[in-house]
């Protein structure tokens, strides 16, 4: 551990304090954001609820935005922090516990248990604070104690499984998914059967010391370098990537695309492959309830978009190295490629990644519908829809919906490139904070608009809002294009071709929207504005600019 100049030996005599200081110092902005969230919750509770503002805090949407999303996000963040998961390779055989800590004159028990105790304390504070502050007087029944225990148990097991050395690459991911999902499944079953709080605590409490003991064992093994190797038992693992000559890359661009694919391209299809079977199993529970089946289908279609949001974190990184999250490492920055070529390799990879993920879904969903016996129900509903709107319109609508889901998945993967590739930690963390804040505020604001009957007024102002947004978007695009041109970051031909492609996409979308929404209530110019806003332009074209800013500091 590198001790900064500000921290002297006399400051931290206790290993526990030193370990705690490291967590606090490294993740201070995350903690500041967490405290900010709690302050906002307290303010809402004190100011808005006590003054009886006309906001319906009782709705599931508000509950989700104010409580479930922030708590889940923070809990995921705590898992990443307290398992040291931000530093290591989760797929590696070796323990993810930082090896630099093993040479400290500290007992193995202290090494294992202090981070666990800090994690436990953080989880308890997270639950207690949000339970007290985020739950305003309502009819929602939220348990008091056991969810806190659940958070502690999940975090403790995540730590134990993360720090354990394994015999094969990837086993850690499998072990974590299976074990944590099993605990979650038992909890969901208990909720279904309305288990009492005492029963839940009886299930969860004994797991805490057990996880602590397993974690101590894992750290002890890792500390003495005891990493099993099971690859000898599996012949193909011994020879994979062996010395047999392979085909050369056609060009530098294809080599870089391969590099990007190995680095980040696989994560989206792999996660879809892991999650999809569990979601498809739900089809067997739908029975004849078409509404329920529709919900399950929407869930399946939304999954790639949601996973892409997280997978984007790996795509937008400039670095191949886990420890260097922001800057461009010399290995990449000294490739004889232009910034535009480096970005093109990323975009190509995201297209392949999206295509593979959706291929899995397009193949698996009809198969699951057929095997679960739900296909006739879907066909019947589709036939009725075609009769109602006409077959051509129904076909185009269905294709458009699927295309929109696919495009949204790709958009999620690439739309934050321009932030991530700047390599500026402040910008990246700030954008995450802004996104979480928007997510947090969007629910209450929507409720407020509905409750105060301002929705009609907002609808009438929609053309003005869209026009302003289009102006902002086009101004940003012009500024970016000028910078790209002046900095010679993109060739003139690529700039013109990009602009032409964007125009074609906008007009194509406009044409489809006019054909689909042929109603006097929606003016055509509004559809044009919508098409301009829907097709990515400014943020995507800013990516080479961001990379140049990072690569040539």
């Amino acid at each position: 551990m590198t001790i900064p100049a500000r921290m002297t030996v006399t400051d931290r005599r206790s290993p526990a304090l030193a370990i705690g200081w490291e967590f606090r110092q490294r993740h201070r902005w995350g903690l500041v954001a967490f405290v900010g969230y709690l302050i906002v919750l307290a303010a809402i509770k004190l100011v808005i609820v006590t003054h009886d503002f006309p906001i319906d805090f009782d709705s599931p949407e508000t509950f989700a935005f104010a409580f479930v999303i922030p708590v889940s996000s923070y809990f995921t963040y705590f898992i990443a922090v307290f398992t040291f998961g931000l530093d290591g390779d989760i797929a590696a055989r070796q323990s993810m516990y930082p090896a630099r800590m093993f040479v400290r004159p500290v007992s193995t028990t202290a090494l294992a248990w202090w981070p666990m105790l800090y994690g436990t304390a953080a989880s308890v504070i997270l639950w207690t604070a949000t339970r007290l502050l985020a739950l305003w007087p309502s009819s929602l029944e939220v348990p008091v104690v056991w969810p806190g225990f659940l958070a502690v148990v999940l975090l403790a097991w995540a730590q134990a499984l993360t720090w354990m050395p394994y015999g094969l690459p990837g086993v850690r991911v499998l072990a974590m998914v299976l074990w944590l999902t099993a605990i979650d499944a038992i909890v969901i079953l208990a909720l279904h059967f309305r288990a009492s709080e005492a029963a839940m605590i009886a299930f969860l409490l004994p797991q805490i010391p057990l996880a602590y003991l397993v974690a101590r064992y894992a750290v002890a093994r890792a500390r003495r370098g005891d990493v099993p190797d099971w690859s000898g038992a599996i012949p193909w693992l011994r020879t994979s990537g062996g010395s047999q000559p392979r085909r050369s890359f056609r060009s530098a661009a294809s080599a870089q695309a391969w590099f990007e694919w190995r680095l980040s391209g696989k994560s989206l299809p792999v996660w879809i492959g892991v999650v999809l079977p569990f979601e498809l199993l739900l089809f067997w529970t739908a029975g004849t309830a078409s509404a329920l089946l529709l919900e399950y289908l929407i869930l399946v279609l939304l999954t790639p978009i949601m996973i892409a949001t997280f997978a984007a974190a790996t795509v937008r990184r400039a670095s191949a190295n886990m420890s260097d999250s922001y800057g461009v490492p010399p290995f990449i920055s000294t490739r004889p490629l232009t910034n535009a070529q480096l970005i093109a390799a990323k975009l190509k990879t995201t297209l392949a990644s999206t295509a593979l993920a959706w291929l899995l879904i397009i193949v698996a969903v009809p198969l699951a519908l057929a095997w679960s016996g739900e296909m006739p129900l879907v066909l019947e509903r589709t036939r009725r829809f075609a009769e109602a709107v006409g077959t051509p319109r129904a076909v185009v609508f269905s294709l458009l919906v699927v295309a929109a889901f696919i495009a949204s998945t790709w958009k999620q993967l690439v739309q934050t490139l321009y932030i991530g590739l700047t390599g500026r930690a402040g910008l990246i963390k700030g954008s995450i904070f802004v996104t979480l804040t928007v997510l947090f505020l969007i629910g209450p604001i929507a409720e407020w608009l509905i409750e105060t009957r301002r929705l009609g007024r907002l609808w009438s102002k929609l053309p003005l809002i869209f026009t302003l947004l289009v102006c902002v978007k086009m101004s940003a695009a012009v500024w970016i294009a000028t910078r790209l041109y002046r900095g010679r970051l993109v060739s003139d031909r690529a700039l013109v071709a990009g602009a032409a492609c964007w125009c074609v996409a906008v007009f194509a979308l406009y044409g489809v929207l006019v054909w689909m929404l042929d109603t006097p209530h929606i003016p055509h110019y509004l559809l044009m504005l919508l098409a301009i806003l829907a097709i990515p332009l400014a943020r995507l074209s800013a990516a080479p600019l961001a990379l140049a800013w990072n690569r040539h500091r």
């Binding site: 062996g242 890359f249 056609r250 294809s254 290995f331 000294t334 004889p336 500091r553």
Partner: protein
Amino acid sequence: MPAGAVYGLVGANGAGKTTLIKHILGLLRAESGSVRVFGLDPVADPVGVLSRIGYLSEENDVPGWMRVEELIRYTRAFYPSWNDAYAEELRQTFALDPSAKIKSLSKGQKARVGLLIALAHRPALLVLDEPSSGLDPIVRRDILGAVIRTIADEGRTVLFSSHLLDEVEEVADHVTMINKGSIVLSAPLDEIKQSHRVDGRVPSLDEIFVARVGRTEDPSRSLPSSGAKGSG
């Protein structure tokens, strides 16, 4: 820098050696003045400059997940001048297993891999930033000495940054000393040695460095002034 020589860039830690190298590679944008490599601006034309440079980083940040064979295959795609036979010769000389993952290699082996991909396209300029940090003395002497001499003999240029002055003294034709971002001495090695001669004795580069760079801290250690170029 004229072509065909080995340039030793020496300075204490934090003197600015890596910063200078980053400017040459186009990884830093000059706040004032300009940088030209092969007559090109490395920031404006990274492809033109970097395709003619072989670079071994002090950090040696070759991705650990790649296998040696994959790294060679990947790197050769970027350099039209890549020489397969030479790459294979280097691989065998360095005893690198093509199926080995980079992360499983020792520090010395990783440095050898980095050297292989820096050399196999026969760059016009080889930039080595503290290359000896990953090599034991025997490997350092055998490999680096041979490689640097070979490249210099072929009319190629080597820029070699180090604070191990005996190493620089052994291989460099021209030495540039920098301190706190400024050049304090830049001249051919022989000229430097001759001009710092004390009572007929030729001092080591180590002694000259201490005298030049350590002047402000201990003026009594200064050697007689030289005729070599230097900004002081």
